[in-house]
Amino acid sequence: MASTGDRTRQQELYEKYAPVIYRRCLRFLRSKEEAQDATSDIFLKLLEHWDSVQNQESALFWIHRTTTNHCISLWRRRKFQGPDNEEGWEDSPLHADDSVEKRIILRDILNKLMFPWNKAVREIVMYTYWDGYTQDEISTLTGMAPSTIRKYLTRFRRQAQQWKLEKLEGEHAY
């Protein structure tokens, strides 16, 4: 539980970071209500761990990592809904260029993410396919070398190709 601490400091942190958390949650969850609930949870976590977060290079990196993992956990529990639930998606100017087709592809990829990849790979895949970050941007976020990011993505793509083949074989089986 977040320590009560100094209320003025909490307000400063809230006004600085809660909008960032909400934007990422909304991007993942697409429901304003769920995004707001998740924002509250993650911001409380931020307050709780503020001593360690502020000693890290960037609170933004912590927020990216924590929000990504939190939202993946929520997906796992509710089963990812895909593009049918569009509330909030169109409101953001940052998401307006995502086509329905892209979202369907993303849904497929993200459903595969329910498989047991380790956390580092999950994050990189999310940043690549969901956020559309470049490898340089992911390197900035994670501190990983671009070569490591490429290695993880290669592994993921190889597995994704396997899934695709299995799916095709399943459709044509008789």
């Binding site: 960032v20 934007r23 911001f43 933004l60 100017p93 340089d136 941007e137």
Partner: protein, 291 residues
């Protein structure tokens, strides 16, 4: 930041006022020269303003920092009409029936772990639906302290934010014991003598195991204070011949949760393979409901 390369992460850091002077100056130069990044910066600032208009701090503070809690589902289902002492009394009675033989020894162990007596607790109510612990050789039992009173944990007990849990183990010949848990959101917590370390923060690459003592049931050298996260908590005690690194335990439990078809309910001693060879695990699922 090179002026010819866009990096949205750096623009976002710039918007938050993060980074050193040199980085901020370089980002500013790029933003001045790049229409796309200027647009991103404007969008970030607009979204921030809109969010704070809709969700001001005073609203968040009233809901989450001032002790006001949303009404839980259990109230709507009628559980709130039961006096609070009914499930607590039922749980205590069950414990007394189940544990008469080991209680004395374990209470002695508990007293060793909590020599300082009572402490205040958060009055926030979280009610447990029940607790199941694994059976078999070895011991993984626990006690909880509330309002200065120490009681054995057991099925049907009511748990609240602020309750202090003290786990007791019997080494069974193993050299090390580790405690790890995962909550219903999939967040793993590792415990060590200094307290819990959330998996969401950085975890040092160090062992979290403590050296086991085998002569009689022993309390772990640390307690666990329940936070106010809703839902269940699944605890695992791992007995091993050597210390286990924190990331090993973390990834092991995360992966098990990921593979589970039924969330925490699908995790049990029988469905989990120990994280390291020749280790033994004991499990405990603690269910909590917000009231």
């Amino acid at each position: 930041m090179p002026t010819d390369t866009c990096n949205r992460v750096l623009v976002e850091r710039y918007a938050l006022g993060e980074g050193g002077l040199e980085l901020r100056q370089a980002t500013r130069r790029h933003v001045d020269a790049c229409a796309a990044c200027r647009g991103l910066l404007t969008a970030l600032e607009t979204e921030r303003r809109d969010y704070l208009t809709l969700h001001p701090f005073r609203e968040f503070s009233a809901r989450h920092l001032d002790g006001h809690r949303p009404v839980g589902k259990a109230v709507l289902e009628g559980h709130a009409f039961l006096p609070r002492w009914v499930p607590a009394l039922a749980g205590l009675a069950t414990c007394l029936l189940i544990l008469p033989l080991v209680q004395h020894r374990l209470l002695n162990a508990y007293s060793d772990a909590f020599p300082n007596g009572a402490s205040d607790v958060d009055p926030t109510g979280i009610r447990g639906k029940g607790v199941s612990s694994s059976q078999g050789p070895g011991v993984m039992e626990y006690f909880f302290k509330r309002d200065g009173q120490v009681r054995p944990g057991g099925p049907g007990e009511a748990y609240r934010s602020g309750d202090e849990l003290q786990f007791v183990y019997a080494g069974g010949g193993y050299a090390y014991v580790s405690l790890v848990s995962i909550d219903s959101r999939g967040a793993v917590s590792l415990y060590r003598e200094a307290g819990a370390t959330s998996a969401e923060t950085s975890i040092e690459n160090s062992a979290v195991s403590v050296k086991a003592k085998n002569e009689r049931p022993q309390p772990l050298p640390f307690g666990v204070t329940l936070d106010d996260s809703p839902g269940s908590e699944f605890f695992v005690m791992v007995f091993s011949a050597a210390p286990i690194e924190a990331p090993v335990l973390q990834h092991w439990l995360e992966d098990a949760y990921t593979k589970s078809q039924n969330g925490l309910e699908g995790l049990s001693k029988s469905t989990l393979t120990p994280p390291v060879p020749k280790a033994r695990i004991k499990t405990l699922l603690m269910r909590k409901d917000r009231v």
